[in-house]
């Protein structure tokens, strides 16, 4: 016999299920219960930087929109700092950098308003191109899927995470495309859960 390692094991994940909205967005489930639902305001009123909207649809392996998905976003501010004690700079008052969105039940379209993040520090003195971290849960997803959204108008060529993706066409699944609309800047970012156009997911 050898000595025992006394680490605990991570609690296994289970699907968020079709009624995830009850817990995490009860207004969408059809009832008001909390004074304040969390995750609607990512950047707050004082954040510096360009105000943007991000929009997209999540598609399943048959190409159909997934209409019961919930997405969480986690991002740095325009200076590249996260609202967390382990980030190396301060963020604006009211900037949380975290958002939670659900899709339209009829169309599957989702979207959120935020500020465009700045580049953030990477490993060993490198720099990561501006990105938003996304986490996707839904009925049929057994463990939340992590991916990243990068921006089409940035120089992403030296990003150490994007460069881990071997196939160039798969790297493109992580790039949101900029559209300058009459009422502001919109980045389009569709996510494909399965198939040839499958989005790159990360085991973080």
């Amino acid at each position: 016999m050898v000595q025992k390692l006394d680490y605990l094991k991570e609690t296994p994940s289970q699907t968020a299920g079709p009624y995830v909205h009850i817990g995490l967005a009860p207004g969408a489930a059809g009832f008001d219960i909390y004074e304040r639902e969390l995750g609607w305001d990512i950047a707050g009123p004082n954040a510096a930087g360009e105000r943007i909207r991000v929009e997209g649809t999540v598609f399943d392996g048959t190409g159909a929109p997934v209409k019961d998905v919930l997405i969480e976003a986690w991002q740095a501010n325009a200076a590249g700092f996260y609202a967390h004690r382990e980030s190396s700079g301060d963020v604006e008052q009211g900037f949380r950098g975290w958002g939670r969105v659900i899709t339209d039940f009829d169309t599957g379209l989702w979207g959120f308003d935020t500020v465009k993040p700045g580049p953030v520090a990477g490993q060993n003195g490198t720099q990561q191109a501006p990105h938003i971290n996304l986490w996707i849960v839904a009925r049929g997803i057994n463990i939340g899927l992590n991916t990243r959204l990068y921006f089409s108008d940035e120089d992403n060529s030296a990003d150490p995470v994007l460069n881990l993706v071997e196939q160039d066409h798969r790297r493109q699944t992580l790039i949101a495309h900029r559209h300058e609309m009459a009422d502001g800047v919109v980045y389009k970012f569709d996510i494909t859960l399965q198939g040839d156009a499958e989005t790159v997911f990360f085991d973080i």
Binding site: K9, Q14, Y19, I22, G30, W74, N133, D203, I204
Partner: protein
């Protein structure tokens, strides 16, 4: 000097795979290509922070937080436990959110059409922050089992959905709590996406008579384990954060 470094790699043999053909909805919602493994950067070791201003004190009492003319119908229970990491360290001040069906197995959701009745005094969601020792508690009613379309006669065991944040986006977790002794657990295709029986056991809350309130409320104990974190011993991989 010991400094916190990356989170331990997630054990993908312990966690459910994306595809399990017996859980039919996963068939078209599971990525086929391999995930790319990342060394944690500041993007993964940070995560949202919540405080008592974000929630209300009543939010963890599902007997009262939606009731208008009396208590909800059903077996009164306390669900309590600690949020720990894989190093057995408490995770303090972290947001825990739950949602569940009522005692009849019906969700208050516009997409749920099960014939069991809505309970006018039960919303079915709650949230709380762990204390400085990682401890949390809720009061609610025990949810009912309900049928769902997987195989024709599939029934979900009684369960409570739980969402936990931890201190880093890498720790983010959603799971489900089941109840000790429920014969439907072993039959459930969603439970059985978890491959290791010992891992399934980790999802089953144990009846906790010591925490129950005599003549009032039963209690179930459910600890939640989030990913643990390596210490920097000789190197400094995360420099530059």
């Amino acid at each position: 000097m010991r400094k916190p470094a990356e989170y331990y790699q997630r054990d993908r043999h312990w966690q459910p795979p994306a595809l399990d053909r017996n859980y039919k909805t996963s068939v078209t919602r599971s990525p086929k290509f391999a995930m790319i493994s990342l060394v944690n950067t500041v993007s993964e070791i940070t995560g949202p922070v919540f405080g008592h201003d974000d929630i209300s004190p009543i939010d963890n009492d599902l007997l009262k937080n939606y009731a208008t003319d009396g208590d909800p119908i059903g077996e009164r229970i306390i669900v309590h436990g600690r949020v720990l990491d894989e190093n057995a360290r408490p995770v303090p001040d972290t947001l825990v959110e739950i949602w569940q069906a009522n005692a009849g197995g019906r969700y208050r959701h516009k997409k749920d059409t099960y014939l069991a009745a809505i309970d006018p005094n039960f919303g079915g969601c709650g949230r709380t922050l762990t204390d400085e020792n990682g401890y949390y508690f809720f009061r609610t009613v025990k949810p009912g089992a309900y049928p769902w379309r997987n195989w024709l006669n599939s029934w979900r065991p009684a369960h409570i959905h739980i969402s936990v944040f931890g201190e880093a986006f890498a720790q983010r977790l959603i799971t489900q709590l089941y109840f000790e002794g429920d014969p439907l657990i072993a039959q459930c295709p969603i439970v059985n996406t978890v491959p290791d029986p010992a891992a399934v056991d980790q999802l089953v809350a144990r009846l906790d008579m010591n925490a129950s309130i005599p003549l009032d409320t039963l209690a179930y104990k459910f600890d939640i384990i989030l990913r643990g974190r390596r210490s920097t011993l000789f190197e400094n991989r995360l420099e530059g954060n």
